[in-house]
Amino acid sequence: MTTMRALVTGGTSGIGAAICRRLAADGWQIAVAGRSQERADALAAEISGVAIVGDVANPADDTVARAAAALGGLDAALLNAGVILDADLSSTPDADWDLLMGVNVFAVHRQARAALPYLQASKGSLLITASDAGLWGEAPIAAYSIAKRMALTMTRCLAAEWGPAGVRVNAICPGDTAPGMLTTTTGRRTPGATDGWLAPPLGTIVRGEDVAAAAAFLVSADASRITGTGLLIDAGMRSSTTAWQAHRGSDR
């Protein structure tokens, strides 16, 4: 059986690390990409993958090419690297706006185009990590919401554009996830702490491995007829404007 090969950007922590572990457990060979040499090396060693150190915000970054060279091609590129800012629109500094767009939109576009030749050769798939905030606007993270809406539009456009070449393009839209940006981003909540999170209708927060399972499905052969979709993994939080109230009074 042929070993499948995947690049995971932002793969050294949070959802990205969970995806790396899940795909490795499923038998994939993984290129763990991130900015931290130490974390990339550690996770690559853990899952018998390869570490790729780079900064996707740098227009000259060649993470995709190096990963493809290391793995001998790519069957999936999971563009997961992202940044977030806790700020409404009026209090978003220009530098942060530029960084969010640079990483969450332009880097994704650049890397998607870089991955296309490899994915075309393998009839593989691209998976973009968007967000539930890209589906509904979240004013307290305004620039992030805007960027993730564009990531979803990019997913749909590239799916239509690259479908004839045999390349699938999908997105995952995680809600509040632990570990994830809410727990691993410096200056946000205490790492690992989920106290005070609004509980969605299922009465439980989303775990990194839940998102990883969705990602693993979308890049697998089981999803061979799925392209242009944005899969929401939020335990029901976006099912209603007041969804978090649904679990109150229940016996869970």
Binding site: L89, S90, T92, R149, T153, C157, E161, W162
Partner: protein, 184 residues
């Protein structure tokens, strides 16, 4: 009432700018200066660039340039209104692809999607009302101006965070035609 129109993009901007101040394709810093100077009560942001083709074909730096001229400038204008605590009605006019993407016109679809989400998050800011009109290329500028004037005026103050698609029903027709072809 002081109206400011931001945007370069063709006859729609011109039709809205009649008698108003007009700023052509401004950079972020210039936008802020103009908004501070004019303190508009009505702001029309017109982002209807010519088609730039598909996302797979465009270079990323070209995408960056176009988003800078449209989304970034629009965000800067609204940020400045908020900073000045002005009561301003804002309308963003952008291509139809922001809701239902057209992959052949993917670059404009992406720009428009960003502008629609900008409208959504900005409509929560105190004292500012923000709405969006998504316009197909074939729609007459005068018709767009009628709808934009409604949204900019104070006769419909409860309209905030709304999206109007002006495509003559084309997207709905395309969906129906696609379904028919599938059925056949």
């Amino acid at each position: 009432m002081t109206r400011l129109v931001i945007g370069t993009h063709g006859a729609v901007a011109q039709s809205l700018a009649d008698g108003a101040r007009f700023a052509s394709s401004p950079a972020r810093t210039t936008v802020r200066e103009i908004v501070r100077r004019d303190r508009p009560t009505e702001l029309a942001i017109v982002a209807l660039p010519p088609s730039c083709g598909s996302l797979g074909a465009v270079e990323t730096n070209e995408l960056e340039r176009l988003l800078g001229e449209t989304l970034t400038a629009a965000a800067a204008a609204i940020q400045t209104l908020s900073e000045l605590d002005l009561s301003t009605r804002v309308v963003i006019v952008c291509p139809t692809g922001g809701l239902i993407p057209d992959h052949r016109d993917g670059v404009r679809s992406l720009v428009s999607a960003g502008l629609v989400m900008l409208m959504e998050v900005a409509s929560t800011l105190p004292s500012i009302s923000v709405n969006a009109i998504l316009v197909a290329d074939a729609i007459a500028p005068s018709e767009v101006a009628i709808v934009a004037n409604l949204m900019l005026g104070t006769s419909a103050e409860s309209i905030n965070g709304a999206t109007i698609r002006m495509d003559g029903g084309q997207d709905a027709v395309l969906a129906a035609e696609t379904r028919t072809e599938e059925m056949n």
